[in-house]
């Protein structure tokens, strides 16, 4: 522990050294401590990522961003490995393409990726064929019961999936774990990285793992405070606003028709920024800019979900009476 001296000059931080690495035989310089992903970005490479989150410590669990690094026995997760001077990175070798293709095939065959942005493009880019593992095994109703170390032996005629009933247990957001890639982002956002509420965790083991509350109690019985910070970081749409979920269900969700307006939350004096997603003059969901210095993409229940009053206009009130 050091004591702070108020009269001490303000510390500006050391100027960062630049590190030069080669990405696909092109030299790029990035600040020391950058990830390989940042170097790939600098080199103009478009690297697929799923579990990486700009506001979270990398969990490097999805393994879709793997690259080849000279001298490494195995491939390396670009989203979390730091660059070192002289590193030689390859992003498009046979091995890299193989791994990325297989990871996409494995995810595509086990998870509903229909609302995961960009993944369809990557499937094309890597010629992934998720259907090669056989027809999906269908909905399971016991994924919340955990008996680790024991599973029903498959007969090989179908491919096991995450498919399970949607969890709708509150009016604010919906959990559709058929779409969950187990990226841990919601767990990290709810836990020590942001919210410190620890309402959800990964339960079970291996393929039978599942994001869960204790004994999978419904959210209203759990510690959840409905900050929606998990929804904010979910890369697949497994977590979504109830409003979005209902509109998708009704076939009325249309992002093309939506506008986004960033404003300051009016509920208290902290100054979080909100982005209102509006379709047909109705707020359909609220997100928060990740690069804003106050909230870093996080909000509380009021900023996130407390928008109904804005649109309780006269005509609507009458309709609801």
């Amino acid at each position: 522990m050091t004591t702070t001296d108020n009269r001490a000059p303000v510390h500006m931080g050391m100027p960062t050294r630049l590190v030069t690495v080669s990405v696909d035989e092109r030299e790029v310089s990035v600040p020391e401590g950058s990830t390989i992903l940042a170097a790939c970005d600098a080199a103009g490479e478009d690297t697929p990522t799923l579990c990486y989150g700009d506001t979270l410590t990398p969990k490097n669990a999805c393994r879709v961003c793997m690259v080849e690094v000279e001298g490494s026995r195995v491939l390396v997760p670009s989203c979390s490995r730091r660059v070192q001077e002289g590193m030689e990175v390859k992003t498009d070798t046979e091995r890299v393409r193989h791994s990325r293709r297989l990871v996409l095939e494995m995810l595509g065959s086990s998870v509903d990726l229909s609302t995961t942005p960009r993944v369809a493009d990557w499937m094309v880019r890597y010629a992934a064929d998720p259907e090669r593992f056989g027809p999906p095994a269908g909905e399971q109703f016991d994924r919340d019961v955990h008996e680790p170390g024991e599973h029903h032996l498959p007969d090989g005629s179908t491919a096991a999936t995450m498919e399970q009933p949607v969890k709708v247990d509150n009016d604010l957001y919906v959990r559709d774990y058929s779409k969950c890639i187990l990226c841990y982002k919601c767990v990290d956002a709810c836990g020590e990285q942001w919210q410190n509420t620890f309402a959800i965790q990964v339960a079970g083991r291996g393929f039978d793992s599942q994001i869960s509350t204790e004994f999978s109690v419904e959210l209203p019985d759990s510690a959840c405070v409905y900050c929606g910070n998990c929804v904010e970081v979910c890369p697949t749409g497994a977590l979504s606003f109830k409003s979005e979920f209902d509109m998708r269900d009704a076939g009325t969700w249309d992002e093309e028709r939506q506008t986004e307006t960033t404003t300051v939350c009016t509920f208290c004096g902290v100054g979080c920024n909100l982005t209102l997603h509006v379709q047909d003059n109705e707020i359909v969901k609220v997100s928060s800019p990740h690069d804003h210095s106050v909230g870093h993409g996080n909000l509380c229940i009021k900023g996130r979900f407390g928008f109904q009053h804005v649109q309780s206009r006269e005509d609507r009130k009458r309709r609801n009476d």
Partner: protein, 618 residues
């Protein structure tokens, strides 16, 4: 942190089980009775939170007492240790020995793993299924991965919850014995098998690591000391710590846990770290199918591990060591506890050891049925009270290991070589074995051999010689294949018995020594079915963290089931499944986070490419 629990309350038994471990709650803030003064004081929860590492032990306490972990018990554990209930649940549901739904007090875990399958476990299970219905916690019997008693295949572990819980290993077992264990309780069915059953060489002259097994009482410190016990420690304490490391380096001791990493390099880099405290972790999780050598030491010569750990701790400047013991080794637990207590009482452990000024403590942590916790970083998470998921490296254990501090992880067998090195000196030690694989080595010989067990030989003998020591394959049958190194290892052919069992010898023949498994399959065994069992093992034991392993192990199992049920009916379909296996296998090897996923395809690949197991169908 503001914790929110459901209303479920613990039963008196559950509360008592937890309290006995961590003491009675002194305030309503930690799950005790809420007293009037509690309304006028508050705690940051820091002191309780620092005991998160007790969560696994607390869950064991409840599970041992009542047989499962109820919502009330889970809440109580969370309250007492200041851990959110979702977190406690995530830990409890990670381990196969715990149940989060009600189950009977008596439960039998029947091993269906490879050595046991080679010796008839399928029949045992078929009989049980007929009598009890399909395996499940509720039905009172479960399938289990290798229980580490392969020399007594087919094996089972019978458990009866209570105070104290009773745990007995059965083997070679029958469905009749399992049913009896369920009806009249494990204690009435069997007593503990003699430790020497695992060591056919027990009592022979010339043994170095197994010298005391069967020759001394494993509960007696006096016996241990009379048989050169703690003389290695006395010698070590005469030297500077750095000199001890030097000796181990000169002895060229390589890790026996599977990775064959030089022990002295780990020790040196850990000792060189400025951060303190430093930790020593003894990896006694021994869960690699076919491996049971560490158990032979723990049950036959437990004091030797304590001696070894004190020396290692001294060398790296650690003040505390942990033994991470697999949960299915009840008798090792009892013997180690005794060894620790007695050693402490006689000045070999604790404060100012043998007047040297050096102090060292050892704690035992029990695993709870998770192979992955033997991985060198998963073991940290498990000890710290988190899910046993491997961490990504870097940082490496020597920089940031247990509790974020510099840590050495060593296997039991690796460690017990250390007192020997101290005793006979590095020069004499390095003369044993070959130039690159020094010292004695334990092999776990099981499957279809006449005398399965742990065998000690100097490095350098061939595979054929080790099989011969164990009496060779049973009369009238011929050898079909041998699995070296366990489920993460590789198969070799019966015409390759000249492979030298050294690190360099196996490497040059493109196979591995792994953890010292030599598992023989004769021609009565259905190898495709063994491959399915291996795939099932990895699918069950994957922590689930990374996609290639979590999904890849599932796809691998599905494809192998297809191949093995289809047999020769449709060679084209099988060829395409083998291609699929290769694709999935390569992605697992290249892109998984840890050694489990990276090795999950090794054995299957070698069976296909080296032994030609699926050949007739391609």
């Amino acid at each position: 942190m503001d914790l929110k629990f459901t209303d479920a309350e613990p039963s008196a038994d559950e509360r008592e089980a937890v309290d006995r471990l961590i003491g009675v709650a002194d305030s309503g803030w930690y799950g005790g009775e809420r007293a009037a003064e509690d309304h006028r004081r508050s705690f940051g929860g820091q002191s309780a939170r620092s005991r998160r590492d007790l969560v696994l032990e607390a869950l064991h306490a409840v599970n041992d007492r009542v047989g499962w972990i109820s919502p009330g018990a889970l809440n109580y554990v969370g309250r007492r240790l200041s851990i959110p209930p979702a977190d406690v649940y995530s830990v409890a549901t990670f381990y196969a020995l715990f149940s989060t739904h009600p189950r009977p007090r008596r439960i039998v875990h029947v091993c269906t793993d490879i050595a046991c399958e080679a010796k008839g476990s399928k029949q045992v299970c078929a009989d049980l299924e007929e009598r009890l219905g399909p395996p499940s916690a509720v039905a009172g019997w479960k399938h289990s991965p290798c229980l580490g008693i392969c020399e007594r295949s087919p094996a089972a572990l019978a458990v009866e919850a209570g105070d104290p819980a009773i745990e007995r290993t059965l083997g070679p077992t029958t469905s009749h014995e399992v049913l009896q264990a369920l009806e009249i309780g494990p204690a009435a069915v069997t007593s503990e098998a003699a430790a020497t059953m695992a060591v056919p060489q027990a009592g022979q002259d010339g043994l170095l690591l197994l010298q005391r097994v069967g020759a001394v009482d494993p509960e007696s410190l006096t016996d241990f000391v009379a048989a050169e016990g703690y003389s290695g420690l006395r010698r070590a304490l005469e030297l500077q710590p750095a000199k001890v490391v030097e000796e181990v380096k000169a002895a060229k001791l390589l890790g026996r846990g599977g990775a064959a990493f030089p022990a002295a390099v780990k020790w040196e880099s850990t000792a060189a770290q400025e951060a303190t405290p430093r930790y020593l972790v003894c990896n006694a999780d021994e869960s690699e199918p076919g491996t049971f050598k560490d158990r032979a030491i723990l049950e036959g010569d437990p004091f030797s591990l304590i001696e070894a750990m004190v020396i290692a701790g001294y060398a790296i400047g650690a003040e505390r060591g942990y033994i991470y013991l697999r949960g299915e080794y009840p008798r090792s637990l009892r013997l180690l506890r005794n060894a620790i207590e007695q050693s402490r009482a006689h000045g070999y452990l604790g404060e100012d050891i043998l007047g040297s000024g050096y102090s060292f403590e050892i704690e035992i942590r029990r695993g709870a049925g998770a192979y992955i916790c033997g991985e060198e970083t998963a073991i940290f998470n498990s000890i710290e009270g988190y899910r046993g998921e491997p961490r990504s490296k870097p940082p490496f254990p020597f920089e940031a290991g247990l509790f974020g501090k510099p840590t050495v992880v060593n296997n039991v067998e690796t460690l017990v070589n250390v007192p020997l090195i101290m005793r006979i000196g590095s020069t004499a030690y390095a003369e044993l074995g070959t130039g690159d694989s020094t010292g004695p080595k334990l092999f776990c010989v099981s499957g279809n051999v006449a005398r399965p067990g742990v065998y000690e030989v100097p490095f350098g003998v061939t595979l054929g010689e080790v099989l011969e020591l164990a009496g060779g394959v049973s009369q009238g049958n011929s050898l079909q294949a041998v699995l070296l190194g366990g489920a993460a290892g590789g198969f070799v052919r019966p015409d390759e018995l000249d492979i030298p069992l050294t690190f360099e010898g196996t490497r040059s023949r493109s196979t591995t020594l792994g953890s010292g498994v030599v598992l023989a399959f004769d021609d009565t065994v259905d190898l495709p079915s063994i491959l399915v069992r291996i795939a099932r093992f990895f699918r069950d034991e994957s922590c689930g963290q990374c996609v290639p392993c979590r999904v890849g192990t599932v796809r691998q199992e599905e494809a192998l089931v297809r191949i093995s049920t289809r047999r020769d009916d449709d060679p084209t379909a099988t060829a395409s499944d083998i291609l699929l296996l290769r694709d999935v296998g390569l992605a697992m090897k290249d892109s998984s986070i840890c050694g489990l996923g990276q090795a999950a395809w090794n054995a299957v690949e070698s069976a296909i490419d080296r032994v030609g197991v699926l050949e007739e169908s391609t």
